[in-house]
Subunit: 156 residues, 2 copies
């Protein structure tokens, strides 16, 4: 297993959502130079990004952009429900990964052998959420489901 997890195409690319920057502006958030860069990178991301990777990419557009700003921007996006925070089964320590929230929830499969990360959408997942909302009268705002195991490729 490599130092970075392998990621298949993201749900965020299959089910694009409307512009994150516009979304923030429409909520009265001040759109700074730094936020524009970060939000654009998150939106176009080819895989789940951790803070360090996002920071490195952002610095190639503005070398003065501070890591603290990355943390603060991610907090802001989380607060507005525009990104989801993932653990990816702590395959690489305690750090978090981020992805733009899509219209339909999906769950993450993390191969404990090769480190591959896969996404999975299912109507059963939607039904399960519905069951929780009904039977417990629990209004779901954010869901996180991750499974660790061995992927098809590693099983051979």
């Amino acid at each position: 297993m490599g130092t970075q997890p392998k990621h298949t195409m993201l749900a965020a690319q299959r089910n694009p959502r409307r512009n994150l920057a516009e979304e923030l502006i429409s909520r009265g958030v001040r759109m700074t130079h730094q936020r524009r860069i970060l939000v654009d990178l998150i939106q176009r991301a080819d895989r789940h990004l951790d803070v360090l990777t996002l920071w490195r990419r952002a610095r190639s557009r503005d070398s003065t952009l501070n890591k603290v700003t990355v943390y603060r921007t991610l907090s802001l996006l989380k607060k507005h429900g525009l990104v989801d925070e993932l653990d990816l089964m702590h395959l690489e320590g305690e750090k978090h990964f981020y992805e733009a929230r899509t219209t339909r929830d999906h769950l993450h499969l993390a191969c404990l052998k090769c480190g591959a990360i896969m996404e999975f959408e299912s109507s059963l997942f939607e039904k399960l959420k519905g069951q929780i909302e009904r039977e417990r009268r629990f209004s779901i705002q954010v869901v996180r489901m991750e499974a660790g195991g061995i992927c098809a490729a590693c099983r051979g």
Copy 2:
């Protein structure tokens, strides 16, 4: 919301599993005084325990028991698949919570308003896992599902 989350009765109490200490011994693990205390506390726990709480309880039985030993014992139990590690939606910062693994998986609901933690078992959850195993040929070893939202009591 208080400083500690409120927990309803644990699935581990409804569906007891066989003795954790025995389980470890049968796997050839050396059963130390410290491990016996910790494993017993985890087994009898009335709620999801974080490291500090577990440490405090353990010290009341052996005041010299070090926090590092708590971390190492939890790692050991995790490695053997005997406990599950939970985030509980980071309601209280980045720390983790632990529970003895039960025969049937369940998911956790965390109320973002009052901090209540609820457990939920469902055949839909089992079906969803089955679908993943079949359609992706992914062999699940550990699953974590958590939902954040507003509980029935807080909705009124």
